[in-house]
């Protein structure tokens, strides 16, 4: 929750503006306040105020029975992320827990009723499909029940068997097509100017849970005026990161121990940077000055900026030069380039480089459609559940693009495994494989000696539940037919 939102939320609850601002400046959010005590607040505001604020804040949830921020702030924060809206509910007292599944429609309700009548079960996806297909078809109740029974019969027979080694099947299903994938990077779908990692390298990147993908890309949708090309251009210019060296020539003056900055009008115009803006940006470090600059043989006087090194050190001068080059004039960190593309009626901005948090803060960005291919960023901004969905989407898209069909259930299992304990874990020795409970399984995978030696010190006990361990000791594994026992009791022979 941003500072402004916090202030506003507190004001709504009748907290004085000054107090609210003081609290917000101290880094408090509503959630933190709720779980705080007067003693802590005392440091920032008078004690009397603190008690009052707390009363007001904690009283608030009572008005909204749906939300329980005090109990599960962490959960509540994670919830909105997976939803289609994806908007952190800012102005409300507490983030509302959004309903993830759409409401049950009339047709669906009819089928649910039918299911109840025949005492069967169908997953929601199937109910929705059936409802859509049955829509507009007039049939009697009896026929409907027959359809429902038949569908659930078929569904039952298509269920996965207990003790199925779902993990191995999924791993094989994703790994096997790997040999058929290409290794090269290609142009991003429809955007010829951008390269994007696809195929096997991308898939490896996804299961490795790299912090930054090798080609981060964002797709930014605009809430209003997405058909207005000029507006989109302005936005694109605004978010594109512009460093000083992009719009100015930077030189060192060794005689006076200075760094000279000569803004280039053409480039500034192309990047949409006004001179005043530039001056504002550089005010802290550089002083504006009329400078003489020799171009070829003639010298002319131009507007420029001077940065003093302060001391006669070439090293420092060089450092200032580098610093000036990478001074950000405008735009968002990490967004190296923004390209506008037409998608149907609307325009969409594609960016090279990614910064989801900052982009979502833009008032005109449509958070429900804006996305990035950086899974780690989605995790940081929107939470695990969103990261889980992002892994599924990215992996599925990668495979699909290569023309390989892999059932989405396999990808879901991998994704669920990676996100099982609340953060994104890699598939490999630093992630899931390194955290297995079995010593033998870890030793058999990688860094054998380390695991064995460490196991001895901590006195680990391997209870031989997994596959690798049982293979090692030569026992049947505990999957499939190895998980069950059959006992045959011969018929009693009568004497």
């Amino acid at each position: 929750m941003s500072r402004a939102a916090t202030v506003e939320a507190l004001r709504k609850r009748g907290v004085a503006k000054k107090t609210a601002e003081a609290l917000a400046d101290a880094g408090f959010t509503l959630e933190k306040l709720v779980s705080s005590n007067p003693a802590r607040l005392k440091k920032f505001i008078p004690e009397k105020d603190a008690v009052r604020v707390l009363q007001k804040v904690t009283a608030a949830p009572a008005e909204k029975p749906a939300a329980k921020p005090a109990k599960k702030p962490a959960r509540a924060r994670a919830k909105p992320k997976a939803s289609a809206e994806g908007v952190p509910a800012e102005k409300e007292a507490a983030p509302e827990v959004p309903q993830k599944a759409p409401n049950v429609s009339k047709g669906e309700q009819e089928i649910y009723d039918g299911l109840k009548e025949v005492g069967r079960y169908l997953p929601r996806s199937l109910v929705t499909e059936l409802a859509a297909k049955m829509h507009g078809i007039k049939v009697g109740r009896k026929k409907l029940l027959e359809v429902i029974t038949r569908v659930s019969d078929r569904y039952e027979s298509h269920r996965i068997d207990p003790n199925e080694s779902a993990g191995i099947v999924s791993a094989q299903s994703i790994g096997e097509p790997g040999t058929q994938m290409t290794m090269r990077t290609f142009h991003y779908a429809g955007v010829a100017e951008m390269n994007v990692t696809l195929g096997l390298p991308r898939l490896i990147e996804i299961v490795d849970a790299r912090r930054v993908p090798s080609t981060p890309i964002m797709e930014i949708h605009i809430k209003e005026g997405a058909r207005d090309l000029d507006k989109i251009r302005r936005i694109a210019q605004e978010i594109e990161m512009t460093n000083l060296e992009d719009i100015a020539d930077i030189e060192t003056d060794l005689v006076n121990m200075q760094v000279l900055v000569f803004p280039d009008d053409h480039r500034m115009k192309a990047r949409g940077v006004a001179y005043a803006e530039l001056e504002e940006r550089l005010r802290r470090s550089a002083t504006p000055k009329e400078l003489k600059r020799s171009v070829g043989t003639s010298a002319k006087s131009v507007k420029g900026f001077v940065v003093e090194a302060g001391e006669p050190s070439f090293k420092k001068l060089q450092r200032i030069l580098e610093q000036m080059k990478t001074t950000r004039i405008k735009g968002l960190d990490g967004i190296r380039r923004a390209i506008i593309r037409r998608r149907g009626e609307r325009y969409v901005i594609y960016t090279e480089g990614s910064n989801l948090a900052k982009v979502l803060e833009l008032p005109y960005a449509d958070p429900s459609q804006t996305s990035t291919n950086s899974i780690q960023e989605i995790y940081d901004v929107l939470g695990v559940e969103a990261a889980r969905n992002a892994i599924i989407k990215e992996a599925n898209d990668t495979l699909q693009e290569q023309g390989l069909t892999v059932d989405i259930r396999h990808i879901m299992l991998v994704s669920d495994m990676m996100t099982n304990d609340g953060d994104v874990k890699a598939i490999g020795r630093h992630g899931i494989s390194g955290r297995k409970s079995s010593v033998l399984a870890r030793a058999a995978f990688e860094i054998t000696a380390h695991h064995l030696l460490h196991a001895a010190i901590t006195g680990e006990v391997d209870s031989l539940d997994g596959v690798a361990e049982n293979v090692i000791v030569g026992q049947p594994v505990t999957l499939g037919t190895g998980a069950v026992n059959l006992v045959y009791r011969p018929p009693q022979v009568e004497k």
């Binding site: 297909k133 049939v139 298509h158 790997g178 059932d407 259930r409 409970s437 399984a441």
Partner: protein
């Protein structure tokens, strides 16, 4: 062996890991080792030497002095070496450093106040309760140690702490002053048990001072057997060599110390001992040179034995060598069922199945034994199985020979096991590496055959990814009734027709099967009485159905009619053929091409049967039959469909050659013109670029813009050339039939043969490297034109110019490199995936859990559907059920009509465009060379 393991119900419950204390080492030791010599002059092991016969036996005939067992009975016994001075165990130096830093140098207590220690203890307990893994504990203990290390003064005794550093690999220093292992050990002894627990130690099984070795365990000789060379010389194992070094130095150290030698000498020897013990454990310790063999090869010591792909774990424990297996070259046999495998007689005579002699089979088994190992087949038969071994009730094996067969057969009693050679119908496992998915190992039924290769039906090539250019495959004979039953039920080929990867068929027609099916059913193909009889004889049909067409007094049978004979009688299905032109087309257009397959009640009323009907991966009919009629029906269908197709192709005959790419002179000229123009266009672009008039693409440099434009122009030119060529290649052309029906090749391949090969690319760009500013010396420096940067104007048929040829090779080389890199990278990815997911299973309640019983998914794939049973990913084929139940309902009929669908069976799903576009694209990447 058989009887010994039968009905084993015992299971190893758990394996506990612990450190060995010096006491324990001495207690479990069979003998103390003191001399560095191994054998005496007569070749017998020296007592208290490294090969002492108390440590087990490796030579047949000798007996172990500890247990009295012979070679195979004695598992070997440990010995020990008493070290003159203690040394540090390299594997534990990091832990030792942590301990020394975190505890007081005087009183040995943890450098934390009681309260702090308590906090960490509580945290760990909480973690235990919530089921934290080993990794989580490590985090806490690390934090504890870091916290303790920060403290300068002991909170318990007030002693000022010194800075402890580790000089890799095994030297500890306190303020730069060296700590001897002895001193380290003394300090560790002082650490109380409760403090160790907080640091992640379990003092019950691992006291820290045990990490400083005072006694060294000597592994049994069975672990380090010496080999006798032909010359009679002995060659010792690397471990033995290392132990010899340890013993020698140990001896010298002891002598010097006892003789009161100068401190300097003792210390040097002590360090040398440390070096040898260190390299004995791990010969790749960083910071010290690896110990080498006389030949200069680094020794393979304990850690090296365990780790890596060739280490104990991965090559002996996770994967094991097996008996009763065979490997040979494979070749095709279209007559075999997909469930079968042809096994050469030579292999069948070696591979055996154990048969338990019971009262019901006593007589017949005796009869088998009497035949001996190489029975002559009676007239009319070609092979009958013999018996190789008879195993008596006490486990003794008797080799059956032609000579003793008669005698042995008389001794066979109930309770014996007889190893019978393979016969037709035995179930075996068949495998081709790399085993990337479960279909890489399937169960087949044996058919013993002459000649020396394994043979199987061509429809089974796709799941194994096999071809017959020299591929070899493995075969394993199952040895227990339980295994055979499981293999038959779960692993048989017919059970794997539908892939769990995408829920479609992986077994099905390929190459000629598709061509044959096409020839059989395209448009109104019809066959005379003789031809029809011949084709139908392939699937064992004797009686001809009534003829479909009568013309000129002759009777003809249509191909569609013939094909319909193998379809289930109630099958209704509609879909697009593979020959259907790309893109959206009306049903009428499709009908004209005979590309809309309509099957009603088991009759093909229109459409061509090709890859989309019976092909592996894509076959719609196959998919439907496998799902709705079961594996038996599917197996029968594949067997018959492939045989029919082969019958048809044999009747019609089929050939392709270079003349299939013949196009008229005029077309050639047209193509030449197109290409010439394209080259000129590129030239114009280059000129524009040089003049600086090229319009820059947003976000691209001028050079990049030129490249993109040039690529586009030349790509288009190739496509146009292909289209012109394609116009003259009609459906009567064999190559076109193969490409369109999906049997082999693509239209792109054809246009490259007849039209133009097109632009060659490396890393997705036009060729640019080679000489300075040019690709080859045949061009001017800085030439950016089409020809200079890898455009191949010629076609494969016309042949390539020398420069073109070279460019083509450059493009081809990239493909080869790419393939090589890809296999290793994807192999490692798959290994990691398998390792991460191997323990997951679906429980009875439908949740997916790991071995720690953590729920990974509440329902597999959110709907609990098995992908191999799903309908192209969907849980249930709703359309099908609706059609079945509501077929006659007026409102349903209306719906079908509305959607411009045929009157039956045709549903949206069937009309969905194919994914084939991408696959053609992929095809292009592949180099044309086939291994």
């Amino acid at each position: 062996m058989m009887s010994g393991l039968r009905g084993v119900t015992k299971r190893i419950k758990a394996i506990k890991f612990a450190l060995l204390s010096p006491d324990e080492i001495r207690r479990m030791s069979a003998t103390k080792i003191i001399t560095a010599d191994t054998y005496d002059d007569d070749g017998f092991p020296i007592d208290m030497g490294l090969m002492d016969s108390h440590l087990g036996v490796i030579e047949p005939g000798l007996r172990c002095k500890t247990c009295g067992g012979k070679v195979d009975d004695c598992p070997g016994h440990f010995g020990h070496i008493d070290l003159a001075m203690p040394v540090i165990h390299v594997g534990h130096v990091k832990e030792l450093k942590k301990l020394l830093q975190a505890t007081c140098r005087r009183c040995g207590r943890l450098l934390l106040t009681k309260q702090q220690a308590e906090e960490f203890r509580v945290e760990m307990e909480a973690m235990e309760e919530t089921g934290g893994g080993d990794a989580d504990f490590q985090v806490v203990t690390k934090e504890t140690a870091r916290e303790a290390t920060k403290r300068q003064r002991c909170p318990h005794c007030g002693e000022e702490q010194q800075k402890i550093t580790l000089d890799k690999p095994t030297t500890f220093r306190e303020n730069g002053h060296k700590l001897t292992p002895k001193e380290v050990r003394e300090r560790l002894e002082r650490i109380p048990n409760e403090d160790l627990r907080v640091l992640g130690f379990n003092p019950d099984v691992a006291r820290p001072e045990w990490m400083i070795l005072t006694a060294l365990l000597v592994p049994p000789v069975t672990v380090r057997p010496s080999i006798t060379l032909e010359s009679g010389d002995r060659s010792e194992d690397d471990l033995t060599h290392k132990l010899v070094d340890v013993l020698r130095i140990n001896q010298r150290l002891r002598e010097n110390r006892d003789a009161g030698a100068p401190q300097l000498i003792v210390e040097d020897l002590w360090e040398l001992l440390q070096y040898h013990v260190t390299t004995y454990f791990d010969n790749q310790t960083s910071g010290i040179p690896p110990a080498r063999h006389r030949s200069g090869r680094p020794l393979k010591t304990l850690v090296q034995r365990l780790k890596g792909k060739e280490g104990r774990f991965r090559s002996n424990l996770s994967g094991k060598r097996v008996n009763f297996s065979a490997r040979t070259v494979i070749s095709p046999d279209p007559v075999l069922s997909i469930n079968e495998v042809g096994v050469p007689v030579e292999a069948a005579r070696e591979l055996t199945v154990p048969i338990h002699v019971q009262s019901y089979n006593h007589d017949i088994v005796k009869e088998w034994v009497k035949r001996g190992p190489t029975p002559a087949a009676p007239v009319g038969e070609f092979y009958i199985p013999g018996v190789n071994y008879v195993i008596r009730s006490d486990g003794r094996r008797i080799r059956v020979t032609d000579k003793n067969a008669e005698a042995v057969s008389e001794t066979v009693e109930i309770g014996y096991v007889v190893e019978r050679q393979l016969v037709d119908g035995d179930i075996v496992l068949f495998n081709r590496q790399p085993s990337l998915h479960r279909m890489s190992m399937m169960a087949h039924e044996v058919r013993v055959m002459p000649h020396k290769t394994f043979r199987f039906n061509l429809a089974v090539c796709p799941p194994y990814n096999a071809d017959f250019d020299g591929d070899e495959m493995n075969l394993h004979v199952l040895q227990s009734e339980e295994a055979r039953a499981e293999a038959r039920v779960l692993m048989r080929v017919q059970e794997h027709i539908l892939s769990p990867r995408f829920g479609g068929p992986v077994i099905g027609g390929i190459h000629d099967h598709i061509t044959g099916a096409f020839l059989l059913t395209y448009k109104d193909a019809k066959f005379s009485k003789e031809e029809t009889a011949y084709i139908l004889s392939k699937i064992g049909i004797r009686d001809l159905p009534p003829p479909g067409v009568k013309k000129g007094g002759l009777e003809y049978w249509t191909g569609k009619q013939v094909f319909s004979m193998i379809l289930p009688k109630d099958l209704s299905l509609t879909f697009k053929s593979s020959i259907a032109p790309k893109g959206e087309h009306s049903l009428r257009e499709l009908r004209e091409e005979d590309a809309l397959v309509v099957i009603k009640n088991g009759e093909v009323s229109s459409g061509t049967i090709d890859e989309n009907a019976v092909g592996a991966f894509k076959g719609k009919i196959l998919d439907k039959i496998a799902r709705d009629y079961g594996p038996d029906a599917a197996r029968e269908f594949i067997d018959k469909a492939t045989k029919l197709a082969i019958g048809a192709i044999m009747v019609r005959g089929f050939t392709t050659g270079i003349d299939d790419e013949d196009i008229p002179e005029e077309a050639k000229k047209q193509i030449a013109d197109v290409l010439k123009k394209a080259v000129a266009d590129v030239e114009a672009l280059v000129e524009a670029y040089k003049r600086g008039e090229l319009e820059q693409m947003p976000g691209r440099s001028l050079e990049e813009t030129l490249e993109v434009d040039a690529m586009k122009t030349l790509g288009r030119a190739r496509d146009t050339a292909g289209q012109i060529a394609g116009k003259h290649l009609g459906m009567e052309n064999s190559a076109v039939i193969m490409a369109r029906s999906g049997a082999r090749g693509s239209m792109l391949n054809l246009s490259q043969m007849a039209g133009s090969i097109g632009q060659q690319a490396v890393r997705g760009e036009r060729l640019s490297r080679g000489y300075w500013n040019r690709t080859l010396p045949h061009f001017r420096k800085g030439d950016l034109g089409a020809e200079a940067k890898g455009f191949v104007r010629s076609s494969y048929k016309s042949g390539l110019h020398p420069t073109e040829y070279f460019f083509h090779a450059m493009g081809g080389r990239e493909g080869l490199v790419d393939t090589a890199v890809r296999t290793s990278r994807s192999g490692y990815m798959q290994r990691r995936l398998i390792n991460a997911l191997e323990d997951l299973k679906v429980k009875e309640d439908g949740t997916v859990r790991n071995t720690a019983d953590t729920i990974i998914q509440f329902r597999f794939g959110e709907d609990g559907v098995d992908p191999s049973r799903s309908v192209q990913g969907k849980p249930v084929d709703v359309d099908d059920i609706l059609q079945e139940i509501l077929g006659e309902e007026p409102s349903w009929q209306e719906r079908l009509k509305e959607q411009d669908m045929a009157s039956y069976g045709l549903t949206e799903k069937d009309m969905a465009p194919e994914i084939s576009d991408e696959e053609v694209e992929v095809e292009e990447e592949e180099p044309t060379t086939e291994e």
